[in-house]
């Protein structure tokens, strides 16, 4: 499917610990930077929204032209942010839940420092496979 999407995992201290450009369409060089800029700008909105609800999936919190930012906040306040242009809410929710499981498994590693970058290539492969599966 020709959807652009940029997926970022941001830690509790507002440091991105994982980034991936998924989707087929985005090929311009500045597109990647624009995506990151939009996602960082959305962090403020997420901060306020996260304390108003006890759900983890926050649906779409911000818009930019036709691109929508959807966010999922975990118990440890790690944010999974997805910038996309599709309208597939259920698919995105399932994507977030599966990535959440992967994240927990990464976190359980006693040698992984919470809040540091996720460098495992296996993690990267799995996230991209999930992205292809859900959109």
């Amino acid at each position: 499917m020709a959807t652009t999407a940029c997926f970022i995992i941001v830690s509790r201290n507002d440091i991105p610990i994982y980034e991936a450009e998924v989707g087929v369409a985005a090929k311009r060089e500045d597109a990647a930077q624009l995506h990151q800029f939009i996602l960082h700008a959305a962090l403020d909105v997420v901060q306020d929204l996260a304390w108003t609800t006890s759900a983890m999936y926050l649906k779409s919190v911000d818009r930019f032209n036709e691109l929508v930012v959807s966010v999922y906040v975990t118990a440890g306040h790690t944010r999974f942010m997805l910038l996309h242009d599709s309208r597939n809410d259920d698919g995105i929710k399932s994507f977030f839940q599966d990535v959440h499981e992967l994240y927990i498994k990464t976190l359980l590693n006693p040698l992984y420092l919470p809040g540091s970058r996720i460098t495992s290539s296996h993690f990267d492969t799995k996230v991209r496979a999930l992205a292809r599966k859900y959109f």
Partner: protein, 194 residues
Amino acid sequence: MIGVGKMKQYSNVLDKPLTKGKQEVSLSAFAFLFSELVQYNQTQVDNIGELERRLEDAGYAVGARVLELLCHREKGNRRETRLLGILSFVHSTVWKVLFGKVADSLEKGTEHEDEYMISEKELLVNKFISIPKDMGTFNCGAFVAGIVRGVLDSAGFPAVVTAHFVPMEGQQRPRTTILIKFAEEVLRREARLG
């Protein structure tokens, strides 16, 4: 045939399912491991405060992970946003999973608004440990205090957590109390959320 009935071998930990697995761990194995942890740290530090801080840091790492895992497993992906919610989460769910029982009591401090206490008659980690007189007020419950601090800190409720012995009349061993003192911003946010 050899291999039939064996559990599936996963090549990477990310492929393993997140099931509960065996709920029980040998108490003696844990007590041995914990005693080695304390002894190892004793050789590395010069004073008691440093030793307590090291045990707390070890517990902090556990707490951060326990929070994420338990919210996913036990609470069906719902986060805690309120103070009482997170405290009762620690008091019941975390204690139940880690020590097999709910904590003995959860009390609000009388002198200060931001203090709460979780008490336990006999903390599991202190069960087989006796403190020599010359170590004064040292409490190995600092490890559990670290776990609680890890859970609270990761959930967005920064706090100073310490473990204290409280002598009880009529009982030989003192009760252990985990004292939780929340940071200013937590109380401000609680007031704002109403």
